[in-house]
């Protein structure tokens, strides 16, 4: 089974700081890592290979530094990785990102399954997977929390929707987006990390993918971010600690009475 996992090397939101005077994120030098759920997409692709044989390719659209993320994916067990990198791929919307992924996938040897994360940890749009499936004209199943069975020419999956769990069968080739709950990604042991440095990692630019520049960058993006600011949140931060539980509980109740939030 040939599986492609698409993963973003994203800003680590838990470490992101905001400029207190402007409220804007400090992106220069911000810590980055494989987006949480996308890492699970990679893990699931590797598990499929381990169970059914085949080949795992990992794709990412991102900056040079994303090589770190791809190395991690190779160490986890992916067979090859592609970094789709070009100044024209930076700061683009989901329309452009999915176009770049599509062009790269068309250069590969074919696939049975594409796995994406349900959403990235920084952008959180949930759009790239369904967009990519739409561009490739293949069926999609989003929010997959479990792969139930791989059959000949199809796959059965269970997905998590607001009102229930849906078990569906879809013909291959298809695209899945997976949830955070699908697996717990492995931490590669040292020898695997060493071996990963010998696995193929290729870089492809806009011209190598044959995408005209007007379809890329800000010109190609349909959605533009005008501003992103963290609203100032003022919280009181009164902490009751180092006292017996009954005393802390009484103090809390007194405070809540003063706040006027107890009783109708």
């Amino acid at each position: 089974m040939r599986v492609i996992a698409c993963a973003k090397y994203a800003v680590d939101v838990s470490e992101l700081r905001f400029d207190p005077s402007t409220g804007e994120p400090i992106l220069a030098g911000a810590k980055m890592k494989l987006s949480d759920v996308d890492k699970r997409a990679i893990e699931e692709a590797i598990r499929l290979k381990e169970k059914h044989g085949g080949h795992v390719t990992v794709l990412t659209v991102g900056p040079e530094s994303a090589k770190m993320g791809l190395r991690e994916a190779l160490a986890m067990g992916a067979d090859e990785a592609y970094l789709l990198v070009d100044p024209l791929f930076e700061g683009v919307d989901t329309l452009v990102t999915s176009l770049v992924l599509k062009k790269a996938i068309e250069k590969l040897e074919g696939f049975d399954l594409i796995i994406c994360g349900e959403a990235t940890s920084d952008g959180y749009s949930s759009l790239v997977g369904p967009r990519l499936a739409g561009l490739l004209g293949i069926p999609q199943v989003a929010y997959v929390k479990r792969i139930v069975e791989v059959k000949d020419g199809s796959i059965v999956v269970e997905r998590d929707l607001e009102d229930g769990y849906e078990v569906v069968e879809v013909k291959l080739p298809a695209l899945l987006t997976v949830t955070r709950e699908i697996n717990e990604p492995r931490i590669p042991p040292l020898p695997a990390i060493m071996r990963a440095s010998k696995k193929p990692m290729k870089m492809l630019s806009a011209s190598e993918l044959g995408i005209p520049s007007e379809l890329l960058g800000q010109d190609g993006s349909a959605v533009q971010i005008l501003e992103a600011k963290a609203p100032e949140i003022k919280r009181k931060g009164v902490i009751f600690e180092e006292m017996p539980a009954d005393e802390a509980a009484r103090k809390l109740v007194e405070a809540l009475i003063r706040e006027g939030v107890l009783g109708g």
């Binding site: 939101v13 992101l16 920084d122 959180y124 929390k145 879809v170 009751f240 802390a248 809390l252």
Partner: protein, 322 residues
């Protein structure tokens, strides 16, 4: 042709009513008709009902292939009519099904799509502008979409439901629609709670610090005393299945008078869903837990000691008040 119209669609009728409110504002600003799409099989009654809540038109596509929601056949149907009628804006409810549909549709139409929006408006230059949470809810971004149509995924619960009034024209369209590409094997419905956590004034919210399902009874008791209800973090619902819905970025957003997080670490994805609460209280045994940074009041301690004491202290207060 319906060039420049504002269209709304959600597979969920209540969300659709909210979209009609947002859509009405836009269509009035642009001075164009507002239309609602209704897709399905045997859904004329839904079209009738929605037509009485403000749209000028309903585009009804009633087809056997649309019996069950399938993002592929639904996207194909909407793609066809959008290409035919050329609306300016398509508002879609940002439910899971809605996002899956909108992404695919946007690709088919080569259109821009703004996801998870909380507000939508028309800019001075006539472009479609929306606000949404960015960086896992830590920031608010303002985005602009320059494509036609502009697709906007609007989060449920942000606009009031459109009141009844008027009577829109129902336009029934017949289209060729591909068969659903997913074969349904089983649907296991989630039980829907009677009190919805997003409507509660007080939310006692449990996280992984709670070791056993039975221990949630303690929180239920506390919530009942405070006139509120119990919610939980994503792992409690999605990994353990103790509740069906969770609070946060990927779950529901709440804005109660009082939030009490019990054994909740305060991951940013969770805090994204509680930050509009009036008063935030955290109970956690780890003084370094990030939740304390977002809290008005906190108790550092073992929840298994603190919660019984809190229940006791509340009982004393209510006794005094008689």
């Amino acid at each position: 042709m319906a060039e420049n119209e504002v269209w709304v669609y959600s597979e969920n009728k209540n969300v659709c009513l909210e979209l009609l409110t947002a859509g009405k504002e836009l269509s009035e600003k642009l001075n164009v008709p507002l239309a609602s799409l209704v897709l399905g099989h045997g859904v004329k009654d839904v079209a009738e009902e929605l037509s009485e809540h403000g749209p000028n038109k309903i585009y009804l596509i009633d087809h056997a292939s649309l019996e069950r929601f399938d993002s592929m056949s639904y996207a194909a149907a909407i793609e066809t009519i959008v290409k035919q009628e050329k609306p300016k804006i398509l508002l879609i409810g940002a439910t899971k099904r809605g996002k899956e549909l909108a992404g695919r549709l946007a690709a088919r139409l080569n259109a821009g799509c703004m996801s998870e929006c909380t507000e939508v408006d028309i800019g001075d230059d006539g472009s479609v502008i929306a606000k949404r949470a960015a960086y896992a809810g830590m920031a608010v971004a303002t985005e602009k979409c320059k494509s036609t149509p502009a697709i906007v995924l609007l989060k449920p619960g942000r606009y009031e439901k459109a009141p009844s009034g008027g009577k829109g024209e129902i336009v029934e369209l017949s289209l060729e629609i591909p068969e659903p590409s997913l074969k349904l094997i089983e649907f296991k419905p989630k039980e829907i709670k009677a009190v919805r956590v997003e409507e509660a004034e007080v939310v006692v919210l449990g996280g992984r610090g709670i070791k056993k399902r039975e221990d949630f009874q303690m929180l239920e008791q506390l919530a009942e005393m405070l006139g509120g209800c119990v919610g939980c973090t994503r792992p409690i619902a999605a990994d353990l299945g103790w509740y069906t819905e969770w609070v946060g970025l990927s779950g529901v957003a709440i804005k109660p008078k009082l939030y009490i997080g019990v054994g909740v670490s305060g991951a940013i994805q969770h805090v994204a869903g509680i930050k509009d609460s009036k008063v935030i209280v955290a109970i956690n045994k780890d003084p370094e837990a990030p939740i304390f940074k977002s809290a008005d009041y906190g108790i550092v301690g073992d929840l298994y000691e603190v919660i019984p004491e809190l229940i006791k202290a509340l009982k004393e207060v209510s006794k005094k008040e008689g």
